[in-house]
Symmetry: C2
Subunit: 345 residues, 2 copies
Amino acid sequence: MKLTILFGGASFEHEISIVSAITLKDKLSKFDLSFIFCDGDHLFYNIDSSKMKATTFSSGEHKKMPQLTLTNGAFVQKNMFSTIELRNVVLNLIHGADGEDGTISSLLDFHAIKYVGPRTNASVFSFDKRYTKYLCKARNVQSVQYEALSKNEHQNISMPYPIIVKPASLGSSIGVSVVKEENDLDYALDSAFEYDANIIVEPFLEGVKEYNLAGYMANDKMRFSIVEEPQKDEFLDFEKKYMDFSRSEQVLKADISEELVLKLQSTFEKIYRGMFEGALIRCDFFVLNNAIYLNEINPIPGSMANYLFKDFATSIEELASSLPVSKKIKISYDYIHSISSAKGK
Amino acid sequence: MKLTILFGGASFEHEISIVSAITLKDKLSKFDLSFIFCDGDHLFYNIDSSKMKATTFSSGEHKKMPQLTLTNGAFVQKNMFSTIELRNVVLNLIHGADGEDGTISSLLDFHAIKYVGPRTNASVFSFDKRYTKYLCKARNVQSVQYEALSKNEHQNISMPYPIIVKPASLGSSIGVSVVKEENDLDYALDSAFEYDANIIVEPFLEGVKEYNLAGYMANDKMRFSIVEEPQKDEFLDFEKKYMDFSRSEQVLKADISEELVLKLQSTFEKIYRGMFEGALIRCDFFVLNNAIYLNEINPIPGSMANYLFKDFATSIEELASSLPVSKKIKISYDYIHSISSAKGK
């Protein structure tokens, strides 16, 4: 099966997208893969598989490679005397802005290019943590209580310390701080506002268990990965997460009851159905006093959470063969015709 | 001031977008206008101002006009020996799908083209009426109670008749029915599901007053139109609304107290701020027993609700000069450099 991996993007997570793409080159070696790099200026490059290493991009060498433009149904490479069209299903692997905020999905939808990844609605509800809270509320999924703050508006925080301060719309722990006392608050707010004009504040929960679960829908059935209990530092900083994006060894199942696994799966499905079709997502949950809280939705998880699946390549193949189809709207000019003919009389 | 009006789109409201654009050609005659038509296949055409009449499009004559493609900062027309770039601010006048669902906003943002219209988040929250309800709840704005139904899932309706049945994501009354008794329900559901896989059902409120208010933000201050009490048929059907999109005469102010006007404005601002910046929107309200309910957000109202503004052209000029600026993300390769050099040792 042919598959195009689209990576890069004008995002704070640009580098980890490169790492993800390099990791997937190995994990998806049974596919006939091509690679499209989106640079920080939104130019697309066709990257030869042999050049898929980090220094190709950090050195700027990618700029010597053929550029691509978008047309109906394809990425196109125009050569002197010929045109090459890449008509494959695209795997959207652009983490953060562009890839996860609805921009790339809209671009691909507009050009009628099939892709694995969140559609635009799903992107908006997962990219901004405030909107994820709205979704949880509407779907009766518990999430941690929060307060939202905006840059340039003085607002007080009413919850007790310790708290966790996060930019509303970034993943990979960028700009995130745990604040233990009021003295440290200003610095944490400044760090978070560096990255986003909106931030959220949540209580830092002691004694919480964390579980990650990935999944996707194929042929109208949910398929789930194993549940992982992630390495529990206070939280992963960017450098650790960065290394995390190159993970490729399957991890061990969390040692939890079958009952809890089923509960996590049914909570996942409540969030997924009618929203994330076409995407393989990872949901990060908290469990505290037997209650499940959705912490975060990763609609394009690092290296696609390949390490949680028994047979990752087959999962991607199944998902890529079961993508949502949007009905084409037929344009008619009935009203204009009827009004023109009425006027003509 | 130069301004490009973008209209058409692959949408059930394709025709009314054409009518809107023709209406604005007159209303914005003090601008140096250009016109870009997006056809049902997502091709862009540069339409000469003299050809801005409905039959240009219904007859297919537009296909003889120059095609445009998107590049960083501009729509581009490639001629045999030259290239013309349209670098103006764009007024997004594509009603319904494409224009109001986040597709066009993403496309313009990706290409760094400035535009008047809702950004992608704002589009998602206003295009689907279910998500508008989520937004209302989060911002403490009252909206009418509702039930959501999905195609292919049997669900009962628990509210008493009469009810109003609407596709979740269409404007202009397309697919909308008032249902007075259970016998008529199936037909109404079928009509609505013709247009959308999701529909909402609301009680049909007797004795409700309807008020429309348009507005936008410029230089961090809200600017409001007059409040209109729209013509009150049971509801406007598509053909009546279609004619409505060509309205250009300023309407009369609703005969309501200054107090109610201020309440409508403050409700409008609660919805607008932090979401609709860059757009001129129209909010349609219900008032019942002194309570205000948000009925619908039109993020690209028909003919931009020009008939509600005293000096519409100046309003558009003010808005176009005060558009949100997105911070460009600088790409660095710090992590790749540090890892490569560590490996090199």
